[in-house]
Amino acid sequence: MRALTRAIPILGWPVLLAALMLTFLGLLGVYSAEAGLEGPPRVTMRQVMFLMIGLGGFFAVQVVGYRELGRWAYPLFFLTMFALAALIAAKYVPMAPFIVERRNSFRWITIGPMTFQVSEYAKVSFIIALAWYLRYRTNFRSLGGLLMPFILTLIPMAMILKEPDLGTSLLLLPTLFVMLYVAGTKNRHLSVILLLGMTAVPVFYFSPLMNPYQRQRIQALFHQDETDAHWRLNAGYQLNQSKMAIGSGGIAGQGFKQSAFFRHNLLPEEHNDFIFAVVAHQWGFLGALFVIVLYLVIIATGLTIASATTDPLGRLLAVGVCAVLCAQTLINIGMTIGLMPITGMSLPFVSAGGSGLISNYLALGLLVSVARRRPIDMAPKPFEFDNE
């Protein structure tokens, strides 16, 4: 116990406990959705196993330390890029049994008993690589220096999009933007980037990169309150079912394992992308509030850690982890309650799925690792520029 308290700094505790509580809620949600079926709760058991592996990864990061990991930033990045490239290649060259098509996409690499969803790990390696690059201010204070962060972002983004996995690829841009902002990019540079990004949205929307059904899902968002059954039954089906599950939860919820709603699979993807609807259906508004507060605790604590550290790499890592978790949470919850279009996106720490859970705990490990290195020196704080 003493070893544990020594291993985890003060600021690490709220982060870890909140994440564990979220995972626990997720386990209950998965279990309740599964309880109505015959046989043992397989998904729940697997999820517990993934949690153990995730926690193992979390402590491993503590042992190694984020600085040491930072030195491996580019090799790790290239490793994940290589894996992503293999996934794309698998579309043209059969690579069974390592890579097989599932759900019409190539996202998973199987090695022995383990299956990796590469994009989840790519998320983490992307944060490390970006933080490693941005830790020197000269690297990005000029427009030309901004090229490198964009290359680091756009290449994995394009590859993940190609799998296809629209959700994960969309996480990278906001993360990049927040990291650049915190790192101290000039405001006018940021404005240009923002402007470019804004113009890219309609271009992307009408480009062939976007599937017709993805467009329909965006349109469904704007048709969600129509009574016309066409939207409700087609592109808006998942949203409709999700809102029905959440809305019928009421204030205190339908109760744990009480609802026939999930037993009859009325909500597709309930373990994964729509786990928030399961939570909100079972525990109502209060449960949903609790989940959102837990995320706010993680992010607020994470930003406190970022602000407390004097090490630019540590701060950028902390901000990057917070940004990615925050964006993922916003998109996921947003899509279940009809504020965001539906994309395949899991809810961090809660959704079922091994790679997601493990990579999120790895990211959390980075955050806590940063918190362990509290500054003791009296040197001037970094990130202070007098020419702004």
């Binding site: 599932r102 759900r103 019409n104 296809p164 902002y181 915190v182 101290g184 599937n211 017709p212 059904y213 039954l233 087609n234 089906y237 998942q238 079912q241 809102k243 029905m244 599950a245 959440i246 809305g247 019928s248 939860g249 009421g250 204030i251 026939a260 709603f261 037993r263 009859h264 009325l266 597709p268 993807e269 909100a280 109502g284 508004f285 949903a288 509030l289 959102i292 507060v293 995320y295 706010l296 992010i299 607020a300 930003l303 970022a306 602000s307 901000v319 917070c322 925050c326 949470t329 916003l330 919850i333 947003g334 309650i337 009809g338 504020l339 395949g344 990130f383 202070e384 520029f385 702004e388």
Partner: protein, 725 residues
């Protein structure tokens, strides 16, 4: 100052968190009830309709002849049967929605998959159920056609009330499940349910099947058949406004016989059931079964008579069929309505083309009501009554018969002439009927003339209040009203007025005059009772069918005719005296041998098959000929020629053997039963039909239900002694 940027960054999740909470507040607290209602609704499965049992048809004494039993149908959503683009698109989306493996497939691949699953469905089903693949496709096409026809029909007849274009016009049937396979057996059902669970457009639904009971065969024509409802009937149905009671395309309704006649009683009202997804019944509206109906037919009597007739037909190879009708004189209940040959209702569908092409025996023909025969001599009492009506008969006046009638240049003969027998000599009215003397009636018919004769026949056979084209009698759709060759009819058909010969012919029941066996039996009931009433096969209150007087019919005239009929059976020299007389009961009857023509057995059909080519097919029926062609439905028939007839022509005789009639009522006093029997090409009424009639009368006497009782002879003995005195 970049600490500030961290604080700015922190505001984003906080603001977004508040936004999400606001949204959740709206969903979970403000609009909670609406979503809870929706969720409850979403847990209710689709509505399943429950078919009612169609009413059973029973005989006079309650024995069930045909009834419904619960069964199961395999039903398929119409869109899937039609495989229209809308459905394929919908189904593709459905696959994406419900199958995670397809959740992000692109539309083209999904559409291909959906189309493939639809296409392969029939093959899978054929293998699972052992039903022939082609039959399934045929059935599918039938359903699709019938719904399309209905849609067109409704559009044509109701377009004034609808604003939408025909393209957008949808009928309910386009959203319903239709039976692709009826009466699926239990084992096949289990297999299909397991194997086709992945196809949301297929269901196994409760249904009914019509079951004919063992002894129903002698009533096959009467019971009739059920078949798919036509668009006209759906639209003109009185219950069209009621969603559950109305017909739907594909419903099985009575299309012939009693099934059609009593359709409004027999049909029920469908119910429905809604279950939640756990299988608990949420809403249940039970189906209302149809009412049973009771026929006036006595099954035992019907069966006995059918056997007698079958034996009679088998005696001579020329004979092609027979029919017998037995009526209750007062109520005109049809106690037996027999047509032979019969067929089995159970195997009707499979054997249909054989039955249809049997042009020698024509088993599908409902002879008792649908076949019109020259009545021959059995009409003579009625022509006598016509003579009385116009004051042209003196009951005691005689005509002299030497076998020939020579009033003009043509030669007319009595039946004795052809048999090389001497003439009847002097005959009065009663004797003319007793001996069936043609010469007497030639003279009578000539004096009466064809016009007065046929108008009297019309009153007597169809009822005084009816015109010839109105359907009379039982209301069976098969029933025909015979041919009474009125002046208009002759003019329309022959393009000329009456000739003198017509009166002579009609007076002896020849020429164009034709009646059905039912009309013959009813004619004798009218003779027995003196008033007309429609016959019925449905057990009803006979007082609802009014008894009408026949204009100009006097009791004294009737009695003369009745005495003639009495003498025909009971006194020496009567044509039925040796063959139809019964010791137990006094029968009044008349024989008839009606000249007729032979019928086509095989015909040579010449078709224009397109491209200037012609094809000649030798077949019993046009349907069989078309079936033998490659593209039979569109080929145009150019000409036909009968190549073989039945009965086959013989050297000695110019005409085929005549139809043999015997019509009678009994007992003489207080008549209770009338009957008519006809044996096609039986040759002689007296020698063939009368013995058969005697057997039938014996069967009626033997019936435990007492239609005729032996002590009915009592009044006759009294009457004879009175006469003697």
């Amino acid at each position: 100052m970049f600490e500030r940027r961290l604080r700015v960054v922190l505001t984003i999740p906080v603001l977004c968190g508040l936004l999400m909470l606001a949204r959740l507040y709206r969903l979970q607290i403000v609009e909670r009830e609406r979503y809870q209602e929706n969720a409850t609704e979403a847990l209710i499965g689709p509505r399943h309709y429950l078919p009612p049992l169609r009413g059973a048809v029973r005989d006079r004494y309650g024995e069930v002849l045909v009834s419904d039993e619960p069964a199961y149908d395999l039903t398929v959503l119409f869109g899937a049967l039609e495989a229209n683009p809308e459905f394929v698109e919908q189904y593709a989306l459905d696959i994406r929605r419900s199958e995670p493996d397809w959740s992000e497939a692109d539309t083209v691949a999904l559409t291909e998959e959906a189309t493939h699953r639809l296409d392969s469905f029939y093959d899978r089903l054929a293998r699972l159920s052992n039903a022939p693949f082609d039959d399934l496709l045929l059935r599918r096409d039938q359903i699709v056609d019938s719904v399309r026809n209905l849609r067109e029909y409704i559009w044509k007849h109701r377009s004034d009330k609808l604003q939408k274009s025909f393209k957008e016009f949808r009928i309910r049937e386009q959203h319903l499940y239709h039976p692709l396979m009826r009466d699926v057996s239990a084992e096949a059902r289990a297999q299909i349910e397991m194997a086709l669970r992945d196809l949301p457009f297929v269901r196994i639904e409760p249904s009914v099947r019509r079951v004919w009971h063992d002894r129903a065969t002698p009533l096959c024509h009467i019971l009739g058949r059920i078949g798919q409802v036509s668009p006209e009937r759906i639209e003109n149905d009185t219950r069209r406004g009621d969603g559950l009671a109305r017909y739907r395309a594909g419903d099985l309704v009575g299309v012939s016989g009693a099934e059609l006649l009593a359709e409004s009683d027999l049909r029920g009202i469908r119910g429905y059931e809604e279950k939640d997804l756990d299988g608990n019944v949420v809403e249940y509206v039970p189906p209302v079964d149809g009412n049973d109906i009771r026929l006036t037919i006595d099954l035992d009597l019907q069966q006995t008579i059918a056997q007698i007739l079958i034996d009679a037909v088998h005696e001579d190879e020329n004979r092609t069929g027979a029919s017998c009708v037995v009526l209750d004189v007062e109520s005109r209940d049809v106690l037996a309505l027999v047509s032979v040959p019969t067929y089995s209702l159970d195997t009707f569908r499979e054997s249909y083309s054989n039955l249809r092409d049997d042009t020698r025996y024509r088993p599908l023909l409902f002879r008792a009501v649908a076949e019109e025969y020259q009545p021959g001599s059995i009409i003579k009492p009625v022509s006598l009554l016509a003579g009385f009506r116009y004051g042209l008969v003196d009951p005691s006046a005689t005509s002299f018969c030497d076998g020939s009638y020579k009033n003009d240049s043509t030669h007319w003969h009595c039946w004795t002439y052809w048999r090389q027998l001497p003439g009847h000599g002097d005959v009065n009215a009663e004797q003319a009927i007793q001996h069936s003397c043609n010469i007497y009636f030639y003279g009578l018919g000539e004096r009466l003339n064809a016009h007065r004769l046929t108008s009297f026949y019309s009153d007597f056979l169809l009822g005084p209040t009816r015109s010839a084209d109105e359907s009379s009698g039982t209301g069976l759709i098969e029933e025909r009203s015979g041919i009474i060759p009125t002046q208009e009819w002759i003019f329309g058909r022959r393009g000329r007025g009456y000739r003198i010969a017509d009166g002579r012919n009609y007076a002896i029941g020849q020429g164009e005059l034709q009646i059905t066996p039912l009309q013959a039996a009813n004619m004798y009931a009218t003779l027995a009772r003196g008033t007309f009433r429609d016959p019925t096969i449905l057990d009803d209150d006979f007082r609802d069918r009014p008894e009408t007087e026949i204009p100009g019919l006097r009791t004294s005239a009737l009695n003369t005719a009745r005495r003639g009929l009495f003498r025909c059976v009971n006194e020496e020299g009567g044509t039925a005296e040796r063959t139809a007389k019964l010791d137990e009961v006094v029968v009044c009857g008349k024989t008839g041998s009606a000249q007729c023509v032979s019928r086509a057995l095989r015909t040579s059909y010449v078709f224009d098959v397109g491209g200037g080519r012609q094809q000649t097919i030798l077949a019993p029926t046009i349907e069989a000929a078309r079936a033998a062609l490659d593209d039979g439905d569109s080929a145009e028939l150019i000409k036909r020629k009968i190549v073989e007839r039945w009965p086959p022509p013989r050297e000695k005789e110019k005409t085929p053997p005549p139809h043999a009639w015997f019509a009678a009522y009994a007992p003489y006093k207080r008549p209770r039963i009338s009957m008519a029997v006809v044996i096609e090409h039986g040759r002689s009424g007296g020698q063939v039909a009368a013995p058969v009639g005697q057997k039938i009368l014996r069967a009626i006497l033997a019936s435990p239900h007492g239609y005729l009782t032996p002590d009915d002879r009592g009044p006759l003995a009294k009457r004879k002694s009175e006469d003697g005195a």
